[in-house]
Structures are given as structure tokens and as C-alpha cells.
Amino acid sequence: MSIPFGDQLLRDGWLLPVTRGTAGAGPPIAVPTPSAQDLGVVTTERSLGHSGIRDALVSAVDTASRRVFVASWLLSDAPVVDALCRAAQRMKGGVYVITALAKQLHVEYPDGLDAEEEGDRASKTQQHLEQLRRLADAGVWLRSAEDVHLKLCVVDDAVAVLPSANLTPEALDKNPENGLVIRESSVVREYGRFFAHLFDEGCTQESPPGSQTELRTPARVTPSTWMPLSANGALVPVVTYRSHENSILKAALEVITSAREELVLSTYSIDGISGTPLGDAIKTAIGRLKRVTLLVRSRNHVREQRLALALFAAPDRRRRIVHVYGHPYTHAKLIAADGRRALLWSGNLEWRFGWTNGVELGVDVRDAAVASALRDHVLRIANEHPMELVVRPSLQQAAASGRQAPLTGDWTLELPAGVTDADWNAVTDGVRNEVVAIGFIRPKQILRIGNELLLDVNIDEDQRRLLVARIGRTKGTGPAYVRFFSRGTLSVVESRNMNDGGSSRGGFRSHARVRRP
């Protein structure tokens, strides 16, 4: 009896491209085209051919006459950097930027860079550092802290731009992003006050203006008491500021609770939301609303997200009011209730970061026109690359969905001679387990079994053998599957030891080829 690859079930919830005849495919959403009422809403949509966010940022910075505050985890977009350099030159300083300096770049990118783009990571880092050097040389003051994830631009306390995007070419040209341009002076000043406090007291590294970047610790300051953000009106600034203030969470819960018929959620990640105050609020909303729409980046390689998506859809197996849409590049962030009220913020629904820790920034929009425009934009993104949530799809189903081409037929997996018992058991158990997926990452010649095992293999196409050079383990994340084994069998053997003429293991592998019964 062979291992039926194609029948293996993938765990959790997967975002798979909608195919004709697929049951439960997300229907196209009727969304109005952008109009004048979207004044203030800025977006990046490839279909528009230009980045409204970039235009808004450059336009605002070019009008600066006193000071410019910018925060973005990554900052490598040349037009934006050009504008900041021009402003620093024009104002003889006065441009302050919070971004990832060299030390922070050694840690994992928080978002915006998917694992599929991992190969580009070095060049993106290089781009980022190159732009930092330009900024430093132009007289821009750079600071950073590892837990600062907000995106913000404040110009002269007169205009603020709150984008979901990091200021990188990829984010501003490729990713669907959203944002707001705010000119309400009382609100903008609050953002300025927050940035100034964070820059002065909340950063751990800096590179002062100079001919080159130079990492050092900012001078110590006497901490001042943080006064929470405040504003009365249609736009309410909110923030997650470490232990100082968590008004984003409060606003998010209020927006979700305020929904009467519809809730639209957009996020890059949703990991670990189940069982949290936010997850509970959404679960409750699913129970009482007519439609809950979630747009999320399709990160099928992240088990935490697959698990979260499966749980997200679980309460709705019968009513079918939950509609989950995947998008390979989306980075827009929104919680919108009935198109009347919305929370736009820099973080994600992922619970691990940004709700009760870290530093994020947002705006609680109570203007129906603006909230509606933000909602419509998210729904347009959902239509752009329709992907649906499939809970526990089979390998065959996943392979047939388009992106992953199947590898079919019988293959033999040869483990290196003298493989340890632990590795042998891990591989054979993984193959036996009928719900563990086996994926093959062809360009890198890596075989992945389940969520833990990564095998470096050399491919013998003629003999249909996969010769294992090294056995490694992951922590559940890592490179995405490129091709699945969708039909056929996989046998596990240990390479014959040429010195002693054969394996010394027990009867299970007394023969050169051992097939699972």
C-alpha cells in the first residue's frame, strides 16, 4: 500500500485561489469606484498606476517650512527620501525620522516582506541602508527602537499622513495599502506631540545628521509624563504606546461592537487572535451580524495564521456570513463597521504585537464618508486577487488550485547512511501521518515534511530518487511550498553503507527499499 499523497489533508485554514467550480468561492463584491468623497483617503492600488500614498507624502513634505516627522520601519523609497532630503536642505534641518537602523535590521522583518521575498531581503536591506546614508548626509536626524512599528508623517503640525505602508518601493508600488491625509490641526498636533515624545524619550538608537550614518545611543533625557492623545471630532487619534496608552485596542473593540450589519476587516496577519479580547469581540460580532469580511495577506506558510483562519471561520459553518479573502500582497489595515465608523491603524489583527505592547498609531474615523471610502477600498482589493479560505484542503485540492504544480508518481527518499534514530523516526513518522503535508521547494531542492522537517535533497530524476544530504528542523515558519506531491507514493530508505555492505538497522530496513505497508 502506498502513501496516498494527493489524499493527504493540509492542516488548518488555507487561502487558495478561487477556481471554477470550487464550492464556497468568495463572490465578487460590488464596490463603488473612488469619487470625490474619498478626499483624504490615500491608497496604493496597482490598478490606479500610481501611488496615492507616495504622492500625498511627497506633496506634504515639499510644503514643509518648519519641521517634518516621519516614522516607518523601512524607509527606502527614493522619491520619499528625495523629498525628505529637499526639506532638510530647505529648512536647514528639522527633519526627524524614526526607522530601523542597522542594529534593528538584524531581527525579523515585522511584516511587509513575505517569506517568498526572502531572497531579496539582503538587497532590500541594502537599499534601506543606502537611503539612510543619504538622509543622514542631507541633515536628517534618524532614531529607532525595536518595538516601533508605526507609519506616520507629520508636516509643520499642519498635515499628517497615516499610511498602512512602510515607505518602500514595494509597499508604495506593489502592495495594496491604505491611509489617510489629515489636516485637522488639533488632530495633527496630537500626532506631532506623540512623535516628538517618542523621538525624544522612546528611542534606543540614533544616527545624528552627518556625512554618514553613525549608530549610537541617544543622550539620556528625564522622562516626562505621557498625556494621552485627545481630540474631539470626526477623527480621533489613537495609539499603542507601550505601557503608556492602549487606545487603539479600545477603539478597535468599540468599532467592532458598534457594527450593526457588517464588519470589514483588513490586515496583514491575524495570528494568535483566537481567545483574545479582540478575537472574542469578532466572534461575538460573527454571531450577530449579517456579513463579516476579512481581507488578509495569503501567508499559507505560516501555521499560526492558518490556525487562526480556521478558528476565525469556525463559528460560521452553517450561516455562511463570514467571507475571507486572501491577497498575495495586501498590507492594508482597517476595521470598518457598516461603512460608518472605521479604525485605520499601523498594526495588524495579529495579537502578538501592537495591542498592549509595542508602538502603533491609528485614527478612529467617525466620519461616514471617509469610513465608507476606506471600506470600499478594502473590498476592491479583495476583488483584485480573489482567494478563498479552505479549511483542511487536501494536497490534491491545494495542488489543483493553481500556484503549486504537483509532483506525481513514486519516489524514493534515501536518508544518509548512519542516520540517527531520532531523524529516522521523525521522517518515517512524518510520512506515515496521513494529515501531514509533504511539500517540495524545488528551486532550493528542499523537501519539507509537515511543519518541522526540512531535508536538503539532491534529485535523481531518472531513478526518481531524492538523496538526503542533511536533515534540519524549522519552528513552523519558513519557505513556502512551491510544489506538492499530489499523487503517488514516497518510500523512505537508508542509503547503503558501502563500507560494511549494508544497513545495520533492524528488519524494518533490512532491505534496500522499504515501503510503508
Partner: protein, 430 residues
């Protein structure tokens, strides 16, 4: 190593002169060495021995005494008493004269009675003998062959040469070849020690020669010779400003066969007077260097007004601007000279630009705010140049300094509070 360049002499001066003496000008040349073979008259000082002392005391007490009295009263052997009295007379401590034949009345002698000694003459103590009796010391004048080394031009004493030079076959100079400076040496050797030191550098003492140098003995005609293997001597007159006395002084450095050494200052001044023939040698030197100079009495440094390009050369580092050394023209043949000049701004515009430049240099490693750096730069340059200097407005400085990448950090630091803190203080205007 013998100094040859300006830098060599500056290093030599730094080593030989006290830190409080800052060189302002150097005048140097190479000149041949000549040796003077002569006999020196030397005065030597000796301690009087105990027996001499008692003999003098006896003679003084008796009024006059001869060997017999010395023998009988001091109890020393007859031959010793005879030799002793002859020596005292020979060195002028006793002398025969009126009354010396009188037989003294004294207490009973204790020594040997040698009848022959009675026949020998008596002598009385002299005035010099009484001085020696009071001081216990005896001065004598002797003659000794010496080899004195001199620089030829300018003629001055270098030192006492090794004795073998006198035996070596040197080139005897014919009388007509003795140059005027060397004749001056012979004349100067007749001068009293103080004047002689000023004239040719020989005072009362000769190195490695015991005794006070009195002059040349007439018993031998002095003759000059030129050592065949000599490289000559490098001489250097250094004009310094003494910080403690605030005076301009000349120092004289000489490099012959050994390490360079400092020579007596009096001779240096004399040499300088000969060069200068003017009340302000430094001004003359500076003028010869092409500088339309102004010398400030406080530090003696010659200022010369220059444009920004020249000024930039002196401000290569963030520290105090450097002075320039410029070669002096028009000195006597064989002489070279350099004078230290301090470039100062030719006008207010140059001064302002130089202040900016100085601040930029300091900003490369800023440790304070821009205002403190500006104040420091202005104060330092004002003192250094000795000119009035206005402190520029910070705002206008921002515009000028921004083009320098190193300055941007300080400018940004200057506006940090105004940008990030002041606008958000409670009650701040929105």
C-alpha cells in the same frame, strides 16, 4: 644628526631651548672650522698645605724667618725647611727685605739645630702671603699649549680641539690668507673676559682645560690652521620670545662634530646686532621675507594680511591656526633665514569666512552646541590674529554652515528643542 633644513633647526630649538621660548626667526649658515695653535695663560687656584700654612704663620709671627727658624720652631727636617722657604718666596708669599736679618726673640725652638741653616737668608711675609694666610688658598699662573677651534665666519669660539690636532699636519695659512674675521679673533683674545665672550665666545674658561683662561702667552706666536677632515660647523641664531619676560632674545645654536648644542647668549646677541644694524631685527627679517608686517609687541609675532586661500592653509586642522615660515631674502652670502609669519585676515570679509571655516573644522568632532563652538572659535581667532572680530549671528551661520556635512549635526542639535520640545509644552501656542 646635523640640522640642515628649517624643520631640523626648529626641532633642534625645541629640544635645546626652554618651552617658554618660542622661536620667531632662524638665521643659519655653514662655515669652515679653523684651529688656533697657541699657548694659553691659565690662572690656577691651589689649596695651601698645612706645613705651608704654619710656616707662613711662623714667618708672620717672627716678622722674618729663614730655614733655620722654620726647622727649629716647626720641628721639621732641615732640607724640608729649606725647600719650603724657597717655595714660599718663589710664589711671592714671602720676600727678603728690610729687617729680615734681625734675629727674632722667640720661645725655645724644638727642632734640630743645623748651624748651616743659620747662614741662609730670612724673608718676611708679603701682602699676598697675608691674603693666602687669611683665605687658605693660593693662585698661580701657568702656561699650556692649546688647540682652540673657531668658526671662520662669523668667527667665534667652538671649543678646545684634541691635542693631536696640533701634531697633525695641517695646512699652514700664510699671513695674507688670514681673513679679517680671524684677525679679529686675535684682537679679541686680548680683551677682558666679559668683552671677549661677547666678541668671540670665549669667556674665562676653556672646556676641558684646568684653570682660568687669562689670554695667550707671548712666548709662542699663535698660528691658524685648517683641519683637513673637518666638515665645518653649522650655526644658527634663533630669535625667541621669552614668555615669562615677554622679551625678544637671541639664542645661538651650534652643530659641529657632535650633537647640536646651545652657545652663550651674549655672543648670539652680538652676532644678531651685526646682522641687523637696525633697531628691530625681526621687522627687517620680515621685510626681507616680503611681508608688509605688523609686529605685535605682546607676542612678537609678525602679522601679515592675506586672503582666504592663504588663510585656509594655516587652518588645516580644528586646532589653533598654524603660523607660516617664510624664507628671508637679502641676507649676507652664505646665510639663510626664515621668519615666522602669522597670516591674519586682510579684511572683514575674509575674517568672517575664516571664522566659518574654523567652526566647520571644529564641528568634525563636536562635543558642545553650536553656540559654544562659535564663541570658542571667535575668541580663539581674535586672540590669535590680534584683531577685532564680531561674533556672527547663529541664524546666518546656519545658512553658511549647512553646505558642510560635518556642520549639519550641530545645526540640527541647535534646533532640536525648538522643533521637538517647545511646541508641545503645556500652554505652548499652537
Amino acid at each position: 644628526m646635523r640640522p640642515e633644513t628649517l624643520e631640523d633647526w626648529r626641532a633642534t630649538a625645541q629640544r635645546l631651548l626652554p618651552p617658554s621660548e618660542e622661536p620667531l626667526a632662524f638665521v643659519v649658515r655653514e662655515t669652515p672650522i679653523v684651529v688656533l695653535l697657541a699657548t694659553a695663560r691659565l690662572q690656577r687656584e691651589e689649596a695651601v698645605s698645612s706645613v705651608e700654612h704654619f710656616a707662613l704663620r711662623l714667618i708672620d709671627a717672627l716678622g722674618a724667618a729663614g730655614p733655620w727658624e722654620v726647622c727649629r720652631y716647626l720641628g721639621i727636617p732641615p732640607r724640608l725647611a729649606q725647600g719650603l722657604t724657597q717655595h714660599l718666596e718663589a710664589v711671592g708669599l714671602t720676600a727678603r727685605g728690610d729687617g729680615t736679618e734681625q734675629v727674632p726673640s722667640a720661645t725655645g725652638p724644638v727642632g734640630q739645630d743645623d748651624p748651616e741653616l743659620r747662614l741662609l737668608p730670612r724673608a718676611a711675609i708679603t701682602a699676598r702671603g697675608r691674603e693666602v694666610l687669611a683665605g687658605g688658598r693660593l693662585f698661580t699662573t701657568t702656561e699650556q699649549p692649546v688647540v682652540l677651534e673657531f668658526a671662520q665666519d662669523p668667527p667665534f669660539f667652538i671649543g678646545v680641539g684634541p691635542e693631536h690636532l696640533s701634531a697633525r699636519r695641517g695646512e699652514r695659512l700664510r699671513p695674507v690668507e688670514i681673513a679679517e674675521p680671524l684677525e679679529a679673533v686675535l684682537d679679541a683674545l686680548e680683551l677682558p673676559p666679559a668683552e671677549r665672550a661677547v666678541a668671540i665666545g670665549i669667556g674665562s674658561e676653556l672646556p676641558h682645560v684646568d684653570g682660568t683662561f687669562v689670554g695667550l702667552a707671548a712666548s709662542r706666536r699663535p698660528e691658524f690652521r685648517v683641519p683637513k677632515s673637518s666638515r665645518g660647523v653649522a650655526v644658527c641664531a634663533v630669535l625667541v620670545r621669552n614668555a615669562s619676560s615677554n622679551a625678544l632674545l637671541w639664542r645661538f645654536l651650534v652643530a659641529a662634530s657632535g650633537a647640536p648644542r646651545r652657545h652663550p647668549d651674549a655672543f648670539a646677541e652680538a652676532v644678531a646686532r651685526k646682522w641687523g644694524e637696525a633697531p628691530d631685527v625681526l621687522a627687517v627679517l620680515a621685510g626681507s621675507a616680503g611681508a608688509h608686517a605688523v609686529r605685535r609687541p605682546e607676542d612678537g609675532v609678525v602679522r601679515v594680511g592675506v586672503g582666504l586661500d592663504d588663510l585656509r592653509q594655516s587652518m588645516r586642522s580644528a586646532g589653533k591656526p598654524d603660523d607660516l615660515w617664510r624664507a628671508v631674502d637679502g641676507l649676507s652670502p652664505g646665510w639663510s633665514g626664515w621668519v615666522r609669519l602669522r597670516p591674519v585676515p586682510a579684511d572683514a570679509g575674509v575674517a568672517r569666512a575664516a571664522v566659518t571655516l574654523r567652526i566647520v573644522r571644529a564641528l568634525r568632532a563636536p562635543s558642545r552646541g553650536l553656540k559654544a563652538l562659535v564663541d570658542e572659535a571667535v575668541t580663539e581667532l581674535r586672540d590669535h590674529w590680534g584683531t577685532e572680530l564680531e561674533t556672527p549671528e547663529l541664524t546666518s551661520l546656519h545658512d553658511e554652515l549647512w553646505e558642510h556635512p560635518d556642520a549639519r549635526r550641530a545645526i540640527c542639535a541647535d534646533r532640536y528643542t525648538a522643533d521637538l520640545l517647545d511646541p508641545y509644552r503645556p500652554g505652548a501656542a499652537q
